[in-house]
Symmetry: C2
Subunit: 138 residues, 2 copies
């Protein structure tokens, strides 16, 4: 599994890891049941501390994205707990609005933005369609 640290990204390392794993779950690179590399392996390969990786994994578990158990390797969760969708939608909407005003303030006009958004939407729709596959957990 590919994980990297972007020095230009001002977010903390553990958040970058979370983003990348969520991204890969979202686009199907990681599927339910897939095992994640151990916290020590990730730490070694990225040359960071074990606990930095672990804090990322812990958050992901809280979010229902992965499962972790003592002695076992972490894996992508079988069931994505989709917390209260109404709340989620309000949250997403707020983030989206902020993002768009940012975009416009930075000189991207709404037409460009629309193109950008629709490209991503089409992309995600396809991935979403082909991702209604087998779920398992033992």
């Amino acid at each position: 599994m590919l994980l990297t640290i972007d020095e230009n990204d001002n977010r903390p390392i553990y958040l970058q890891i979370i983003s990348q794993i969520r991204e890969q779950v979202g686009n199907g690179t990681l599927k339910p049941g897939d095992e994640l590399p151990s916290v020590r392996d990730v730490a070694d390969s990225l040359k960071i501390n074990m606990h930095t990786v672990r804090s990322a994994y812990l958050k992901l578990r809280e979010q229902g994205i992965i499962s972790m158990h003592l002695g076992r390797r972490a894996k992508i969760a079988a069931i994505q707990l989709q917390s209260d969708t109404a709340y989620a939608e309000a949250d997403i909407k707020a983030r989206l609005k902020e993002l768009m005003t940012d975009a416009i303030l930075q000189g991207i006009n709404p037409e460009e933005l629309a193109i950008l958004v629709n490209q991503l939407l089409e992309q995600l729709k396809e991935e979403f369609k082909s991702d209604q596959g087998e779920h398992y957990e033992r």
Copy 2:
């Protein structure tokens, strides 16, 4: 000018202030030349420290959103410095993609998302059109 602190928002106070002002600039509530309340006034009304407000204002100045000068009250900048648009676009695109995968993971399907996005886009387009008005600074 309306500013509030959201206890549920886990972002630092100064970032919340930045967001709200950018938001109001973006949607036309604040226009170029409009004066901002003094750092002390904002601090008093929100019951926070003067320097917390100031750090928000400083960031906004760095971003070219407002102008600040010794002795004078801060005001919305006349010219929005639109920093390197290519870079901005890449940044926005990355944020957008993350947002969308988050949305989908939270149980919002792409169709709902598309509706959400297009509503906001239409809204912003109108605001953008009616915002090509008078700019001034003395």
